[in-house]
Amino acid sequence: MNKKACEGKTDEELVKLTLQDNQYFLCLMRNYEEKLMRYIKRISNASTEEAEDVLQEVYIKVYQNLNDFDTSLKFSSWIYRITRNEVISTFRKKSSRPQSFGGEAAEIILEKMASDLDTKKAVDTEYLQKNIYTILEKMDIKYKEVLVLRYLEEKDYNEISDILKKPVGTVSTLLNRAKKNFKKELDKHEITF
């Protein structure tokens, strides 16, 4: 299947076409390969090989469950949900939890959160760069994953709600708590040092 055949088609159209001809599944997979690889690494700290293994499983599950795709949902939310569940399940099998984000992720989150944080104190950027990983490391995974979806994957509240299968209100609360948690850690460090 060449890339031209995929052009101009929405994900939802590609799902319908895939059910008739599995070649179209390649279009869907190509559309998400890069995004999902990045997402898996961000929420799990997996190596490239591990992330590829997870993504392969995700694609097989997506293909097998295509008939369960609810068209009132965005396809991207659905595939992110399956990916998140697969990451959690893979780490559960290995008796460990998804770890923290990579370094690049932490910096982007910090940058995007800065305006939301409402910190009156001036934060030493150099200091933050040194300690940001320690701060994020201390945060609960439920806060980390919501930060990733909001600030790195740039999903809106409804999409996050569909991915995490939580009410929008809960997503909003989680995000607020994640930000407060982050700010508290920042303040704690400023006092200590």
């Binding site: 599944f25 997979m29 993504l55 097998q64 469950n65 008939n67």
Partner: protein, 244 residues
């Protein structure tokens, strides 16, 4: 070869196919059916609880140890309240697993479950389901009077309180009564029937009375009242066939 191409190759090689739509429909239907069953059972529990709350001895609290609070503590239908909450949790669990269920907060779903059980339960109470279930359990499950309907246990002849079903009535208005533990009593005395509780002394009616225990099988009644405050259910239920 990219990862996507690898996956497609594997799909073709292993003849992997999408699961048929009907499988998902069956799964969704099961979730809904379990939800409806949970609503129904929760509603039945609500109907029984309502029956016990309405038909309680609120009029006699001053005669009981502990007054009104003592009566509430002694007769509150804890068993049924716990059952209602349990089924509200089941309703929430089932709704959460429907396609859109996750969009609603668990508290809202539980409150919704209780509300639906309340509405359907009130209807079931009005058609007599609550009273009938209570009757069947009182009749067939010995421990029920201890855990489910504790009202019967406060009607203790030793303390001048007797309740049960009228077995037979003679011309002078004296009657034979079988209490809820199947003990038969001869009821004597020139009892009164309070105006606020219309009651006809006749075979099959459930009554409660205040008086004195004269001996092992005889009770002198001063006041006789219907067991059911809701007089629509004054007759012993169809399942409570203790009169043979």
């Amino acid at each position: 070869m990219t990862l996507s191409e690898d996956v497609l190759k594997e799909i073709k090689k292993d003849h992997i196919t999408p699961k048929p739509r009907w499988q998902f429909l069956v799964k969704d239907c099961c979730v809904w059916v379990l939800g409806v069953v949970s609503v129904f059972v929760g509603s039945l529990a609500f109907a029984v609880m309502l029956s016990m709350l309405i038909n309680n001895d609120w009029d006699l609290y001053s005669l009981l140890n502990g007054g009104a609070i003592g009566l509430i503590i002694a007769t509150l239908p804890y068993f049924w309240i716990i059952l209602i909450l349990l089924f509200a949790l089941l309703i929430q669990h089932n709704l959460k697993h429907t396609k859109k269920g996750y969009k609603y907060s668990p508290v809202l779903l539980i409150a919704g479950g209780i509300l639906i059980s309340g509405i359907v339960g009130t209807f079931l109470y009005n058609i007599g389901a609550g009273v009938a279930i209570d009757d069947v359990l009182l009749q067939n499950v010995p421990v029920y009077s201890q855990i489910g309907n504790r009202r019967a246990s406060i009607w203790n002849p030793e303390k001048g309180r007797l309740s049960g079903v009228i077995v037979s009535v003679d011309q002078e208005g004296l009657f034979l009564l079988e209490d809820f533990s199947r003990q038969e009593w001869q009821v004597l005395g020139e009892y009164t029937i309070p105006d606020s509780f219309p009651l006809i002394i006749q075979r099959g009616n459930k009554v409660r009375m205040l008086g004195d225990r004269l001996n092992e099988f005889t009770f002198e009644a001063y006041h006789v009242m219907p067991w059911m405050i809701d007089t629509r259910f004054q007759k012993a239920g169809m399942h409570m066939q203790i009169i043979r």
